[in-house]
Amino acid sequence: MRTVYPIETLTGWDEMFTAEGVRERYNRIMATLENLTIEDLKLKHVQASDFFMNNGITFTVYSDNEGIERIFPFDIIPRIITREEWQHIEAGIKQRLTALNRFLKDVYHDQQIIKDGIIPGELIESCPHFLKEMIGVNVPHDVYVHISGIDLIRGADGVFYILEDNLRTPSGVSYMLENREVTKRILPESLYQNKVNGVSHYPLFLQQIMQDMSDKEAPTMVVLTPGVYNSAYYEHTFLAKQMGVPLVEGRDLVVQNDMVYMKTTGGLEQVDVIYRRIDDEFIDPLVFRSDSMLGVPGIMQAYKKGNVCLVNAVGNGVADDKAVYVYVPDMIRYYLNEEPILPNVPTYRLENEGDRLYVFENIRKMVVKETNQSGGYGMLMGPSATDEEVEKCIAAVKKSPRSFIAQPVITLSTVPCLIDGKLQPRHVDLRPYALCGANGDIKIVPGGLTRVALKEGSLVVNSSQGGGSKDTWVID
């Protein structure tokens, strides 16, 4: 098959090709691809899709009284990262996560960073995810962010940038693990030849950090899910199963005397550590949204008293607010006295008049994002937006400048994808998953979720916006 796409289609950094040819790291996989016909590749694609379908790694689309099962698109050609690049990424994420954990402790206790003028107090005050209920609450081992998914992109200059921090309930880790399981079936020899680092020990790390959060020798741990209709439900069952802990829903838990119990066939059983996949606002109807049917009444009281540990901590949203993101490099300098290893994407805070006017003048070169949205929602892509969308966005920014930030459009790196029977470049990002344990020890399995914008030219990789994923190989 033809494995090289026309060089003029390269618009930035391509992970596989340069103007001179194939990057060294891709030599082996390229040799494998050259020996396969397009029919072979299509067959592998079908094999992969069947794997996801038969394992129930699907989400349901409801239409006409019927639920239709869909899989998240998977592209069979891996994205490859070298050991040196990975070490750089790993060091950068560890540094960032350490600073973010310290920031969360600080912002919910002494607020020294505000007093020292590093971050404006009004920025924190105006963040909807800054929860007053968490002020003064001590969390076990001062760890707030146990599980994070920090999104990275590689720009045209080949540099990895931090695009955003996901510190609440980041999803997608099951796809990282299942993508590898699929690759073991469709490209087994290549995995072996390329000496690809394993990722399958992630659930063991997760179980360990949860266990470390309790003083008990054998704590009762659970994964709390919003239920079967949640789009990430598969991931919740997957993680519970991999860790050997019960998967519970809010209705399975009850709080009595500020202790959390689960309802079992043998009566109530105390729960010590909860990996919750329910957002803050739904977790306790007595404290947050009173109409929440997903949470557990009274759980916040049990949490504040230290009778149960929630993983991740409540209130982390203040640290992954897109306006606060701008200050993370300053946090690193402030708390760690180090220079950031991984740079941020340049970001304009639109409550600053100067930034705002500049962004309005150059909006066609900008991405404007709502600070409290994720999943690709609430985003304006300047170059492709209609005039009407631009006008609407400007009006919304003028109405509530604090709710928006803007970033120059960065051409994400591309990776070849098998689309319509040929290799075509598509833009990607990278989400490695980091786990923070009791003594601040951070573990990251070598890999992550590479998300792909499957539409030609699109820079939006979110699965909710038509994105897919790839296996990510870190090779020695």
């Binding site: 038969n54 019927e66 099962e69 199963k241 309802k263 066939t265």
Partner: protein, 309 residues
């Protein structure tokens, strides 16, 4: 660690739905074959399936493909194979951390099969046997996978409690349907008449091997209700129900628990020690009705005691 009450409920219903769907497939498979053998109208040969599993109206001149789709793929028939499998899968999905990966995959692949548009077409286009054979075999496979891969413990006991509750009720309902068609006259009916029922309950071969004398009807009733070695007989199903649910209840050392166990023991004794020399249409009907009532009462009390969270 004990099972979450909700998950226990899911387990119980998972196997109730699978048991019902697998029995329905066997009934349909036999009805379909029967529709060629006999000079009955197409819909008449599906009367058993219709009366036991479907409460809708089927016209005399309904096409066979439409009939089969009503029982197999119709989303609006609450007891179609598709709906039953959908419900079984939802229960499995909600308790996925407690069932084996292989059980989940087997059920999931059945679910995707029954939801594929090709099945509807095959049932319409004269390829129904292909669909029925596939489903028939896949349900056997499901039980094989379940037996081979599931850990023995509380989850297993709930799965089996669900299975044997459903099986007991189905055996009663199916036996009663065939008796009713004979006006409860045990002197009527030959082995050809009873063959579809025995096939639906997977006991045809076993029955033939044990025939002692004619007439067949009293022997078949005896076989279906009292034969301890026939795995769809009422006594076998109730004995298993007793075994699995007793294990669950006795882990709850409450006074109510003891009384609920006694209920299922009484039910088992009533069947086990029934004087079958007195079998006639009237006594069989009474036995079936009493057994059904006792099973439902037992199920209610079991549910309240163990799952009433």
């Amino acid at each position: 660690m004990r099972l979450l009450s909700r998950v226990a409920d899911n387990m119980l219903w998972l196997n109730r739905y699978v048991e019902r769907a697998s029995c329905l497939v066997r009934v349909l498979r036999n009805s379909y074959i029967l529709s060629f053998d006999l000079g009955l109208s197409k819909s008449k040969s599906f009367d058993a399936a219709n009366d036991i599993f479907y409460s809708g109206f089927l016209s005399e001149d309904t096409e066979i493909g439409t009939l089969l789709n009503t029982f197999i793929t119709d989303n609006y028939n609450p007891n179609s194979v598709r709906v039953l499998l959908g419900k079984a899968r939802e229960n499995a999905r909600a308790s996925q951390d407690k069932i084996s990966k292989e059980v989940w995959e087997q059920l999931n692949s059945l679910y995707h099969y029954i939801n594929s548009p090709a099945v509807i077409e095959q049932l319409k286009n004269g390829e129904a046997m292909k669909v029925l054979d596939y489903l028939h075999n896949q349900f056997f496979l499901y039980y094989g996978v379940l037996d081979t891969t599931m850990a023995r413990g509380e989850a297993w006991e709930f799965l089996n409690t669900g299975k044997y509750i459903e099986r007991s009720i189905l055996t009663i309902d199916i036996t009663e349907w065939y008796l009713k068609d004979l006006n409860y006259d045990l002197n009527e009916g030959n082995v050809v008449y009873w063959r579809p029922m025995l096939l639906a309950l997977t006991g045809y071969e076993q029955y033939l091997k044990g025939i002692k004398h004619t007439p067949h009807t009293p022997q078949i009733i005896d076989f279906v209700l009292f034969n301890k070695y026939f795995n769809h007989s009422l006594i076998y199903s109730v004995t298993r129900l007793h075994r699995y649910s007793k294990n669950i209840i006795l882990q709850n050392s409450s006074v109510q628990g003891q009384s609920v166990v006694k209920q299922v023991e009484r039910l088992k004794s009533n069947i086990e020690f029934y004087d079958n020399s007195k079998l006639c249409g009237e006594t069989v009907t009474e036995l079936l009705n009493n057994a059904r009532k006792q099973i439902w009462n037992y199920y209610d009390d079991f549910y309240k005691l163990i799952l009433g969270y």
